[in-house]
C-alpha cells in the first residue's frame, strides 16, 4: 500500500494513532483498584479475626452463659457463638465464635463480636436490636451477594441469647422466630422466602426456581409476591 493512498472505503476506519482514554471517575477507580472485592475492614477482620474461640475445651473452662449455632457444612456457612452475660446489668460482656464460611462470613462474625463487647459490653436489649445492616455498615459494606453472611452472624447471636434465657430460667424472654406457612402443599414458610431473597432471588421466577413455591398451589402466589417485595425492601431497598 502506498503511503499517500486515500482511504475512501467506509467499511473500515483506521485506528487513530494517539488515543487518550477518557475515563469516568468511578470507572477509573474500578480499573485502578486491586482485585479484592472486600473492603479493608473486611480483610482486616478476615486475616486477624477478633474474639475467636480456639478450642472446645476452652469453652468448657470459660463457663459461658449461652451458646448458639446456625448453618451446616452442607449449606456452606456455619457459625457457633458463645456469650457471657453480666446478669445484674443484663449486659453481654464476652462473645466468642467459630465460623465455617467465606471471608465475609468470618469477617462479619468477627465484627459482630466486637460490636457486642465494645465499650464494656452491650445490653441484651441493644444486642437484639442489632440488624444485619449495622454489621454491614461497620464493615464498610459487603458485595450484594455476600449479604446473607452478615445475617447468619446475627442469627447465631440471637440463638446464643435465647440459650442464655433458657439456662437462666427467663423463659418469657425467649424469642421464637415465628414462621408462617405460605404454601401448605410444600410447607414453605415466609422464612424460606426470606432466605431465598437473601440468596439473591429477586423475582417470583427466581424464588420458584429455589423453592418451587406455588408451582402446584397457585393460590399462594399473591402472598409470595408480597413477601418478595417486603424482604427485598427490608434488605436491599
Amino acid at each position: 500500500m502506498s503511503p499517500g493512498l486515500d482511504i475512501l472505503d467506509v467499511e473500515s476506519t483506521p485506528m487513530p494513532h494517539k488515543t487518550e482514554p477518557v475515563m469516568h471517575a468511578d470507572v477509573k477507580a474500578k480499573a485502578e483498584s486491586k482485585s479484592w472485592f472486600y473492603t479493608d475492614i473486611v480483610k482486616d477482620h478476615f486475616f486477624n479475626p477478633r474474639n475467636i474461640l480456639i478450642n472446645d475445651a476452652d469453652a468448657e473452662k470459660q463457663e459461658f452463659d449461652g451458646v448458639g449455632m446456625v448453618g451446616s457444612p452442607a449449606c456452606g456457612d456455619g457459625m457457633k457463638m458463645w456469650i457471657k452475660v453480666d446478669k445484674e446489668q443484663d449486659r453481654i460482656v464476652d462473645c466468642k465464635w467459630q465460623t465455617f464460611g467465606c471471608a465475609s462470613a468470618i469477617g462479619s462474625t468477627s465484627m459482630l463480636s466486637v460490636m457486642v463487647t465494645e465499650n464494656g459490653g452491650t445490653t441484651i436489649q441493644k444486642a437484639l436490636e442489632l440488624k444485619p445492616m449495622d454489621i454491614m455498615n461497620r464493615l464498610g459494606g459487603l458485595p450484594t451477594r455476600k449479604f446473607h453472611c452478615s445475617v447468619l452472624g446475627d442469627k447465631a447471636l440471637r440463638a446464643a441469647i435465647n440459650d442464655h434465657f433458657r439456662r437462666s430460667g427467663q423463659n418469657d424472654r425467649i424469642i421464637v422466630e415465628g414462621a408462617r406457612i405460605i404454601d401448605p402443599d410444600l410447607k414453605i414458610t415466609d422464612k424460606d422466602i426470606e432466605e431465598a431473597i437473601l440468596d439473591g432471588a429477586r423475582t417470583i421466577e427466581d424464588v420458584q426456581h429455589k423453592l418451587k413455591v406455588g408451582v402446584f398451589n397457585k393460590s399462594c402466589l399473591p402472598a409470595v409476591e408480597e413477601l418478595i417485595r417486603f424482604y427485598t425492601e427490608k434488605y436491599f431497598g
Binding site: M1, L5, I7, D9, E11, S12, T13, P14, M15, H17, F46, F47, P49, I52, I54, M69, P73, A74, C75, G76, D77, G78, M79, K80, Q98, T99, F100, G101, C102, A103, S104, A105, I106, R145, K146, H148, D199, G200
Partner: protein, 409 residues
C-alpha cells in the same frame, strides 16, 4: 519484598504468549482493512485471515471452509447447539451434567422453546461412557454435546468413542474442547467429530475470539446475521488481529504439547501427592490419570474454598474454588456435586491449573503454604467432619497410592 505471583488459574485465562502478541501487533494500526473490501487495503487483511484459517485447518486436519471464527468459546457453543436446533426445528439433545454453563444454560433455554434435553449423569470421576450416550439416543435426537475435558476437575472424556457411537446412530456430535486446546489431540478426522469449539483465551491467545469447526454437510442456522462473513454462518467484520493471534497460539501450543504435557503431568502429580499427604482430610476430585496435564482439584473438609483462596492469595498464589461463595448463584460447583460428593466437599474445593510459566519451585511453595493455611481456617471452624464417613480408609489410601504408582513409572 514483593512476592512472586504464582498464577495457578490457567483454566480461567492464560497469559498471552509473546509470539502471539507480536503476530497481532500489525493489525492494530498498520493492517486495518476490512477483509471484505474490494481494494488493496482490505485484500491485505483478507490474506492474513486466510493464512490464519489455513494454519488452523492444518492443526485440526480439516478444510478451511469448515472453520467459523467467533467471539469466543461461549459463542461457538451457542452457535453449535442453537444452530443445529434451529436448523432441525425440533428434537432432542443429549449432553452431560458436568458441562460448562455455556452448554447447560443453552440446552435449558432450548427446553423452554420446545426442544427436549437429556443430561447424562457422570461417574465418581466425572466421566460418561459411550454406552450411556448410545442408550440415550432416541429416534428424534438431533445432537449430542459432550465436553472434551472438564474445566473444573480436568477429567478427559472418551470423546473418540462417543463420536463413534453417535456416528453409528447418525446423530451429530459436538465437543466443547475449550480446556483441551493446548494439550489434547485436535485432529477432527481422527476423532470423528462433527463440531468442535475452541477458545483463544485458554491457549495463550487473545480473549474475545473463538472457533467452531463444523464438518461439511452439517446444517447450521447462523445466530448472528449480517454481511455473509464466515460462510454466512457468523456475520460481522472479522476480528483480524484476534483471528491471527488465535491461529498463532493454537499452532504453537499443539506443536509443543508433547514435551510440555510431560512436564506439566510431573508438576501435577507432585502437587496432588503433596497436598494429599500433607493436608489432612483432603481428597482429589476427578480422575487420577485421565485428567488434563495441568489440573489439580481437591476438596478439603471443615473449611470453605473462598476463604482458602483468599489466604493463598496473600502468598501470591492465585487459584479458584467451586465454593458457592464465589458463584453468582450461591450454588456450589455443579461438577463436584455431579460426581456424587455431598455439598460440604463442593464448598471446600479448590482448583490449581498450571501453565507454561509454572515451575517446580512454584509447586513446592504451594505444598509448603497449604497445610498452614488449612490449619488456620480449621482453627476457627466449628466443624470437625470425619473423612472416614465418606471414604473408607482403603479408598483414601488408594487415592494417594494410585498417584504415587503413576509417578514412579
Amino acid at each position: 519484598m514483593t512476592t512472586r505471583t504464582i498464577y495457578l488459574d490457567n483454566a480461567a485465562a492464560t497469559p498471552m504468549r509473546q509470539e502471539v502478541k507480536e503476530a497481532m501487533e500489525p493489525f492494530h494500526q498498520d493492517i486495518y482493512g476490512n477483509p471484505g473490501s474490494f481494494n488493496s487495503v482490505g485484500h491485505e487483511a483478507l490474506e492474513h485471515v486466510d493464512g490464519a484459517r489455513k494454519t488452523v485447518a492444518r492443526v485440526l486436519n480439516c478444510a478451511e471452509r469448515e472453520l467459523i471464527f467467533t467471539g469466543g468459546g461461549t459463542e461457538s457453543i451457542n452457535l453449535a447447539i442453537k444452530g443445529v436446533a434451529f436448523a432441525k426445528k425440533k428434537g432432542h439433545i443429549i449432553t452431560t451434567t458436568v458441562e460448562h454453563h455455556a452448554v447447560l444454560n443453552t440446552c435449558e433455554w432450548l427446553e423452554k422453546h420446545g426442544f427436549e434435553a437429556t443430561y447424562l449423569p457422570v461417574d465418581k470421576y466425572g466421566m460418561v461412557t459411550p454406552e450411556q450416550v448410545r442408550d440415550a439416543i432416541r429416534p428424534d435426537t438431533i445432537l449430542v454435546s459432550v465436553m472434551y475435558a472438564n474445566n473444573e476437575i480436568g477429567t478427559i472424556m472418551p470423546i473418540q468413542e462417543i463420536a463413534k457411537a453417535c456416528k453409528e446412530k447418525r446423530v451429530l456430535f459436538h465437543t466443547d474442547a475449550c480446556q483441551a486446546g493446548c494439550s489434547q489431540n485436535l485432529n477432527v478426522k481422527e476423532l470423528g467429530i462433527d463440531m468442535l469449539t475452541l477458545n483463544g483465551s485458554k491457549i495463550y491467545g487473545p480473549k474475545g475470539v473463538g472457533l467452531l469447526y463444523v464438518r461439511l454437510g452439517v446444517q447450521l442456522e447462523p445466530l448472528v446475521h449480517g454481511g455473509g462473513q464466515e460462510g454466512g454462518k457468523r456475520g460481522g467484520t472479522e476480528n483480524v488481529a484476534g483471528i491471527v493471534g488465535f491461529a498463532t497460539a493454537l499452532a504453537l501450543s499443539q506443536q509443543e504439547n508433547g514435551q510440555e504435557n510431560e512436564r506439566l503431568i510431573r508438576l501435577r502429580d507432585h502437587l496432588a501427592i503433596g497436598i494429599l499427604q500433607r493436608v489432612p482430610k483432603a481428597v482429589l476430585n476427578g480422575h487420577p490419570t485421565k485428567r488434563l496435564p495441568n489440573n489439580v482439584n481437591v476438596s478439603i473438609l471443615d473449611i470453605e474454598g473462598e476463604a482458602l483462596t483468599l489466604l493463598l492469595n496473600e502468598h501470591g498464589i492465585c487459584t479458584s474454588t467451586g465454593s458457592a461463595c464465589t458463584s453468582g448463584s450461591l450454588e456450589p460447583s455443579h461438577v463436584i456435586l455431579a460426581t456424587g460428593l455431598p455439598y460440604e466437599f463442593a464448598h471446600g474445593s479448590i482448583r490449581f491449573t498450571m501453565g507454561r510459566d509454572t515451575t517446580i519451585d512454584d509447586i513446592e511453595k504451594v505444598i509448603e503454604v497449604m497445610p498452614e493455611a488449612v490449619k488456620r481456617l480449621r482453627a476457627i471452624s466449628p466443624y470437625n467432619l470425619k473423612l472416614d464417613e465418606y471414604f473408607s480408609k482403603e479408598e483414601q489410601q488408594a487415592m494417594v497410592e494410585q498417584l504415587v504408582k503413576v509417578t514412579s513409572r
